[in-house]
């Protein structure tokens, strides 16, 4: 007999209450002188024997009620002796395969894995003394088990110490491992005991069932006993966060990110108003609700704006269900620090609005700007050490001296961002010669669309015709915001050399916007680890009225963010449970230790070049990386996600299992095994109710 809530049995002590009341009842009767005491005495004599019987019955019934209720609440189940079923077939070498996948963490009152362990112990106890056995814990790292032996203590200890994993388990593969171990047993009988939640994704029914090589080399099927850890439940309803995508939020500023996550409903019932939350650094910063159809999915986007740069751990989560492990997904958002830009003003002017950097200065100093700027004329700017800056803005700057040009190239190659805007001081030949290695395209000549001194120059000025609005740079420009770009007038612009088809530096450039005559308005190229943007008109009003447009300010700020790489899409949840994760650290931050969310160290393989490979990852959630000094390296921390397929708990049907293993080999199937647990607590409740009723009847008598 087994009990679902064994601690409830403590309530059986209540059965002692009638005895104790009888023994220690010190109620003092009220004395009452009475004239007709003769009748009382006669009545008492007449009813004494009947009262004695009634009291005995009452005592018995009350004891039964007080004994029956706690036992019923403990939910007892009679376990039919499975040994009788197996003994008749003779001794057999037995391999027990215990499913240890994440889905076994499903807990409806009791965790499936605990039930599975109990069933494994039971299977072990059911063995005949002359039956050797072995155990295979089926998780992602499952290996062939040892040959069956008679060391029951070792197997029991292995069962006691078994833990469910967060990964997937391929039961078909594990059953093959177990069958292979059975081959080495000299006993002719072979038996596989499979203990699982029977989640369909773990069984490859398209592959042949496990077989064992017989003494003559023929393939024979072992007897298969399937024990259902879910006790024949029709379904195991589950909801899970199966995907997470983190993008910069269009229009939300440089540090606004949108967290788009997908929640799947793996159950027969639709879900309404499921609460979802976004947590950053253990603080809930946004909440939302989802409606998900049965066996469907829904997406939700929550937005958060970070106040400063740095690495931010967080998670998206939904209201927990029976399998809470997949109800959350962790992430780490890496935000660049405040960018430092050196703005080289090629044409300073004492009249502020005529200054070349006037409009750029206004854009970069506006609220929410990710860039902190320093404006210098070329002479003093070229004396600045470029290493202190993330970005260089060349605004109508005549070609720098060769040594400065070399420093600029090195700056870009090492990861710096460079924006070059045109103007009357830009000499195409000198630029091509000195900075040609990093320019997206070579400069050719200045084209005048319409002279500025012409009457109504705006009417015939050039306009931007095509813009790669799907590029991350232009994501904020949607709807009417696009008009700010496309309605700008350009009187002059620099023509660029055509794209080279040969493999070379210029081949990797791309044009992000063009004028109505097809000439590039904005070209981009990655050079080394850095980026270069080439804007073919001016950032003041000399060649265009774009600086007067509302789109100029966000455009310049986006230039800064884009050149520093902070607008790149971030797939932070790339690390998966069971996978290896490569890590790269600069020399001063040599990696020494990686800890899982539970604090356990994760296997780490260090390489000579300072990189390391971590894994296999065993747990979902935030993993922290520590340097040799024991200090955390926030920028290397990462979050591991779960395999979405493990959240699908759709179960195999008994007939599918029977068809797969064969009716003959699967004698103790799910259907047979199911009645082995005979719940009789309902009968106890009925018995207690009847006893209660009888007690009431007796009391009325």
């Amino acid at each position: 007999m087994t009990f679902a809530n064994p601690w409830m049995l403590l309530g059986a002590f209540a059965a002692l209450i009638p005895v104790l009341v009888h023994l220690f009842d010190r109620r003092r009767p009220r004395p009452h002188p009475f004239g007709a005491i003769s009748f009382v005495l006669r009545s008492q004599r007449r009813t004494a024997s009947r009262l004695k019987l009634k009291r005995l019955l009452l005592y018995t019934l009350r004891t039964l009620i007080l004994l029956g209720l706690p036992i019923a609440l403990a939910r007892p189940q009679l376990v039919r002796d499975a040994q009788a079923a197996t003994a008749s077939r003779g001794a057999a070498a037995t391999a027990i395969v215990l499913d240890a996948s994440m889905s076994m963490q499903f807990a409806d009152r009791e965790r499936l894995f605990e039930r599975g362990r109990e069933q494994a112990r039971q299977a072990l106890a059911d063995l005949l003394p002359d039956e050797p056995a072995t155990l295979l814990l089926c998780n992602a790292e499952a290996q062939p088990p040892p040959v069956p032996d008679f060391n029951r203590g070792r197997l029991r200890a292995a069962i006691d110490g078994a833990k469910p994993s967060f990964g997937i388990s391929e039961m078909s593969r594990c059953m093959n491992f177990a069958a292979r171990a059975l081959e080495d047993s000299p006993l002719p009988g072979k038996r596989l005991v499979v203990i699982s939640d029977l989640a369909a994704h773990a069984f490859r029914l398209d592959l042949p069932p496990p077989t064992i090589q017989g003494p003559k080399g023929e393939r024979i099927r072992p007897e298969v006993i399937v024990r259902d850890a879910a006790n024949g439940a029709a379904s195991l309803p589950n909801r899970a966060v199966v995907d997470l995508k983190i993008d910069p939020s269009p229009g939300g500023g440089p540090r606004a990110f949108q967290f788009t996550f997908t929640v799947r409903n793996f159950s027969e019932q639709p879900v309404k108003d499921l609460e979802a939350a976004l947590k950053i650094s253990d603080q809930v910063v946004a909440k939302g609700f989802l409606d998900i159809p049965a066996h469907g999915a829904a997406k939700k986007t929550l937005i958060h704006t970070f106040s400063s740069g740095g690495a931010y751990p967080g998670e998206v989560s939904i209201s927990p269900d029976y399998l809470p492990a997949d109800d959350r997904r962790a992430f780490v958002v890496h935000l660049p620090r405040q960018l430092q830009a050196l703005v080289v003003n090629g044409e300073p002017s004492p009249i502020r609005y005529r200054d070349e950097a006037f409009f750029v200065d206004a854009a970069l100093t506006a609220a929410g700007s990710p860039v902190q700027e320093l404006i210098r004329d070329p002479e003093s700017a070229f004396r600045e050490p470029f290493d202190r800056y993330d970005l260089l803005f060349f605004l109508n700057v005549s070609a720098p001296p060769p040594d400065v040009a070399r420093r600029v190239i090195e700056f870009v190659q090492r990861g710096g961002g460079l924006l070059i805007s045109m103007g009357d001081r830009v000499e195409p030949e000198a630029y091509n010669k000195l900075l040609g290695a990093i320019l997206p395209r070579g400069l050719r000549m200045v084209k005048t669309a319409v002279p500025t001194e012409a009457s109504e120059p705006e009417a015939s000025a050039a306009k931007i015709k095509e813009v790669a609005f799907d590029h991350v740079l232009f994501l904020p420009f949607s709807g009417k915001a696009r008009e700010g770009l496309t309605s700008a007038r350009f009187f002059k612009y620099m023509l660029l050399e055509p794209a080279q088809t040969s493999v070379g530096s210029a081949a990797s450039s791309e044009v992000l916007a063009t004028f109505d005559d097809g000439a590039p308005a904005l070209a981009f190229a990655r050079r080394g680890q850095g980026r270069v943007l080439l804007y073919t008109s001016t950032v003041d009003r000399d060649w265009t009225d774009l600086p007067l447009r509302t789109s100029f300010l966000p455009l310049i700020q986006r230039f800064g963010s884009f050149l520093s790489g902070s607008l790149e899409e971030r797939d932070e949840a790339k690390a998966r449970v069971g996978a290896m994760v490569p890590l790269t650290a600069s020399a001063p931050q040599a990696i020494s230790l990686v800890r899982s969310p539970s604090g356990a160290p994760v296997p780490l393989q260090k390489r000579d070049d300072g990189t390391a490979v971590v894994g296999p990852i065993a747990e979902p959630g935030l993993h922290q990386v520590f340097n040799t000094s024991g200090e955390p390296i926030p920028e290397l921390s990462f979050a591991a996600g779960l395999e979405a397929s493990e959240s699908d708990l759709t179960r195999l049907k008994p007939e599918e299992l029977s068809a797969y293993f064969g009716e003959e080999t699967m004698r103790a199937s799910v259907a047979d095994a199911q009645p082995q647990h005979v719940p009789f607590w309902t009968w106890l409740i009925v018995g207690a109710a009847i006893a209660f009723f009888l007690e009431g009847v007796l009391l009325r008598k």
Binding site: R27, P29, R30, P31, H32, P33, F34, G35, A36, I37, S38, F39, V40, L41, R42, S43, Q44, R46, T47, L51, K54
Partner: protein
């Protein structure tokens, strides 16, 4: 204000006052003496026999018929009433304002009033196990206070012994007396009531006032109770709810047996609940007496 309920009567300090209060509510002269005696109201003629009163000879009839006839008269003052009160311990039981003994004394006092008021004789016998008070029947006005004082002094005690009381009454009571017995009749012996009723066989008129407390009739107890005897050392701890039905059955059987025995012996029987109006009890009794005489 209703002066005749138990709660009001119990406030009157003496039996005398209580009896007067009851009598005032009862019509007087409802009964006539069944015996002939000295009176002015002619009843019939009887042929003279030696020993008859010479002064009752009807000389006019002698003149007409030439035979001696004696006049006989109906008279209202020739009844000898004997009030018998059981003052055993059980009569002291009360669950309401008045005990059974107090009710018995009040009723007895009222009847004594009525008797004396009609020139009838009234006597009193008090018994608990044995006769402790014996006041012979007299019709004088001075006798009434004696009877009432004796009633006033009564306290419950002793035990019920109807057999002995009946034996002693047989000696005390002269023939043709009206014996009014006030008792709860709680004597377990089978022959007890029979012996009492045998007084009727001695040409006495017997009336039994069977006094019972409402609690004795309904047994309204719930909690665990230690019942103590009021006459001896018997006691019993019992859950009253468990035996209530059996008790009521026993009591009803007892009442049926008493009622049946009285009817058989041609004895007036009045079951008196101590919580009912006492004038109603007396009126009921007197009405029944009047009915018997017709």
């Amino acid at each position: 204000m209703d002066l005749l309920n138990a709660e009001t009567l119990v406030r009157l300090s003496s039996v005398k006052l209580r009896a007067r209060a009851v009598v005032d509510g009862v019509l007087t002269g409802l009964h006539k003496s069944p015996h002939q005696g000295q009176s002015v109201e002619f009843a019939e003629h009887k042929e003279y026999a030696p020993g008859d009163e010479i002064r009752h000879l009807d000389w006019k009839a002698y003149g007409k018929f030439d035979k001696y006839y004696v006049k006989r008269f109906e008279h209202e003052t020739n009844l000898r009433g004997l009030i018998v009160i059981d003052s055993s311990g059980s009569m002291g039981y009360r669950s309401i304002a008045m005990s059974k003994l107090e009710v018995a004394c009040t009723l007895a006092g009222a009847l004594a009033y009525l008797l004396v008021r009609q020139q009838d004789a009234a006597g009193l016998v008090v018994s608990h196990g044995e006769v402790v008070t014996d006041l012979p029947s007299r019709a004088t006005a001075g006798h009434l206070p004696v009877v009432l004082d004796a009633l006033d002094r009564l306290t419950p005690g002793g035990y019920t012994d109807l057999v002995r009381t009946a034996d002693q009454l047989a000696e005390i009571a002269s023939r043709r007396s009206l014996i009014m017995i006030f008792s709860d009749l709680f004597d377990d012996r089978a022959e007890a009531l029979k012996r009492l009723l045998q007084l009727r066989a001695r040409k006495n008129d017997v009336a039994v006032f069977h006094l019972l407390d409402p609690a004795e009739l309904t047994f309204p107890f719930d909690d665990l109770t230690l019942f103590l005897s009021m006459e001896d050392e018997r006691k019993l701890e019992v859950n009253p709810r468990e035996i209530k039905r059996s008790y009521l059955t026993e009591l009803q059987a007892f009442l049926s047996q008493v009622r049946g025995s009285c009817a058989e012996a041609d004895v007036d029987y009045e079951l008196v609940r101590t919580d009912e109006r006492l004038d109603s009890v007396l009126l009921r009794f007197l009405a029944r007496r009047q009915g018997r005489q017709r």
